[in-house]
């Protein structure tokens, strides 16, 4: 167990060593600035506060798919290929008792990076939002009261202080990003060429952008890990559609992680690194 934790720590530290991380706050800040501008431009909208910027951003499907999903895959998806070419894989794998432990450590470190990505991205978005909107402890009026017949800006738990709810969303988003990163890692072990992980990630995201809306409408998207990036799926929608259950999300995420773990472990038993 100790060795596993130490592999996770080393891999996570390696995973943070990319200049691409510097783009994360900038991209999220820009996306949130646009979101806040759009909120402020809506006439007749109830008053908003700083929490509304990042949280209403997470209701925007293209933003979630491209900024959150693709963003994470670009930042952390090709770690295996990069570390392999830099010799870091060799340095850690010869020190590890089993390849399976090494690989599971890598899958787990994708979770640490997902948390770092979610916290850094949504944190930057919140700071950007706070520049233009007041920062309050409670939800804004627009977040609580349906206005303009469109319902609240985003769903939330009644009575929960906003910092706690925001922290919950950061954690949930990280949890939902984790299997995406793990699956791309597994794909890069199956085909360890330099541009394969990013290529697969882009293709996947484009397919999601096209297919997810229609799948979600038919209820078929609930088995898709991308679908679980939207925390709002767990709440009653204004149209009255049933929310996705938390255990189902946990099952989809676990199944995707299990698949990534199994594919990588089995591949590495009989492949060169």
């Amino acid at each position: 167990m100790g060795e596993f934790v130490r592999i996770v720590r080393y891999d996570a530290l390696c995973g943070l060593a990319s200049w691409r991380w510097l783009a994360v706050p900038a991209v999220f800040a820009l996306a949130c600035w646009n979101e806040v501008s759009s909120l402020l431009a809506q006439k007749g909208r109830a008053p908003v506060n700083a929490w509304d910027g990042p949280l209403s951003m997470l209701q925007d499907q293209p933003l979630v798919i491209f900024v959150l999903g693709l963003g994470f895959l670009v930042v952390a998806g090709d770690r295996y290929s990069q570390d392999r070419s830099r010799g870091t894989v060799a340095l850690t794998i010869i020190r590890t008792r089993s390849r399976t432990a090494w690989w599971l450590g890598r899958v787990a470190s994708a979770g640490v990076l997902a948390l770092a990505f979610s916290a850094l991205g949504l944190g930057s978005a919140l700071l950007t939002s706070a520049i233009r909107l007041p920062l309050e402890l409670g939800p804004s009026v627009a977040a609580q009261v349906p206005s303009d017949m469109k319902g609240a800006l985003y769903p939330s738990f009644d009575g929960l202080p906003m910092p706690v709810f925001f922290g919950f969303v950061v954690l949930y988003t990280a949890l939902a990003l984790w299997p995406l990163g793990a699956l791309i890692l597994a794909a890069s072990v199956l085909r360890p060429a330099p541009y394969v992980p990013i290529g697969i990630a882009m293709l996947w995201v484009l397919l999601e952008a096209v297919a997810l809306p229609s799948l979600a409408l038919r209820g078929g998207g609930s088995a898709d890990p991308f679908y679980h990036l939207f925390f709002a799926i767990h709440f009653q929608t204004p149209s009255g559609a049933d929310p996705a259950s938390w255990p189902w999300s946990a099952l989809v995420i676990s199944a995707a992680l299990g698949l990534a773990g199994a594919v990588g472990a089995l591949t590495l038993r009989r492949s060169d690194v």
Partner: protein
């Protein structure tokens, strides 16, 4: 007392990538405390062999036994290997010492004291807090060597370890390698610096197109004695050539930097005898020096004969 078994034993080993054989029919053994050099042109299979020995790649045929572990179809790395990959990279925002601490923590063999000691041994300051991204290529290479040595490996695999090292670093590396070997570590060193390999290795293997074509033991050298003779003038050069013709000793032009009147002369019997013969033949000698037929010459002959 029985002698220890080989650290490495390869029999008929081949490695194929697609339809291309990177290695073929490689037989070799390496004993504890021995330093084995591996020389070959680019693409000869040096890095592939190191990856096979480290368990990072699997053989396509033959038997690979490393530190008593037979590496079969299932990929695994034997315990006790120190590896210096070509151009090693580290976590760029951490210091050299922190990098080694995190790496060492995986195996929990080397502690802070060993890490500080090995850093000092390779010429890096253990108290240096600079991030490794500010390290020069040579410093990164030293750090790579430190991470490989810190856990006192039984087999040390060095892939182009002199890359980026300054002359002082190369001399230090020589000492470190000999020291590790004296402590019982088997060392396998792939390098393009032939002189370095020649000086530090007990045996040198020359490889071409993935196959071992020659093995040279340091104790066997020099296979042939030659002297470099610089004569005083053109008439002496003529006299030297006439003597060589009579004696059946082929002359070779020396390095052009030695001047137009320098020749490499094979020594038929002994050097004093040769000097007497040349003086007797009317050759006025300005300079004479023994030249060892170097591994470089051996290697260049090998490559040019391909």
């Amino acid at each position: 007392m029985s002698s220890p078994g080989p650290a490495v034993r390869l029999e008929g080993v081949g490695k194929r990538y697609g339809r291309h054989w990177a290695l073929r029919g490689v037989d070799l053994h390496l004993l504890p405390g021995e330093v084995l050099g591996f020389i070959g042109p680019n693409g000869a299979g040096k890095s592939t062999l190191i990856r096979l020995l480290a368990g990072l790649a699997r053989r396509s045929e033959g038997t690979v036994e490393v530190l008593g572990l037979r590496l079969g179809d299932r990929a695994m790395s034997p315990d006790g290997i120190g590896l210096v990959p070509e151009s090693p990279q580290f976590i760029p925002y951490l210091s050299g010492r922190r990098n080694l601490e995190f790496l060492a923590a995986i195996r929990t063999v080397a502690g802070p004291a060993e890490i500080a000691k090995v850093l000092a041994r390779v010429g890096l300051d253990p108290a240096d807090r600079r991030a490794t991204r500010k390290f020069s290529l040579g410093m990164r290479q030293r750090l790579g060597l430190a991470q490989a040595l810190m856990e006192r490996p039984r087999l040390l695999l060095l892939d182009e370890p002199t890359n980026g090292l300054d002359p002082a670093g190369i001399v230090e590396l020589r000492g470190i390698v000999r020291e590790a070997a004296a402590g019982g570590t088997a060392v396998f060193m792939a390098s393009h610096l032939l002189t370095e390999v020649e000086q530090v290795c007990d045996r040198v293997i020359l490889v071409r197109d993935g196959s071992i074509v020659k093995e040279v033991r340091r104790s066997e050298q020099p296979p042939e004695k030659t002297v470099r003779v610089v004569v005083s003038g053109d008439p002496d050069l003529d006299a030297l050539e006439q003597w060589a013709q009579r004696r059946g000793a082929p002359l070779t032009p020396a390095d052009p930097k030695e001047g137009p009147r320098a020749r490499l002369v094979p020594v038929p019997t002994s050097t004093p005898e040769l000097i007497r013969e040349l003086v007797g033949a009317g050759v006025s000698i300005e300079e004479i020096a023994t030249v060892r037929r170097s591994l470089e010459r051996e290697f260049l002959d090998l490559v040019s004969s391909a």
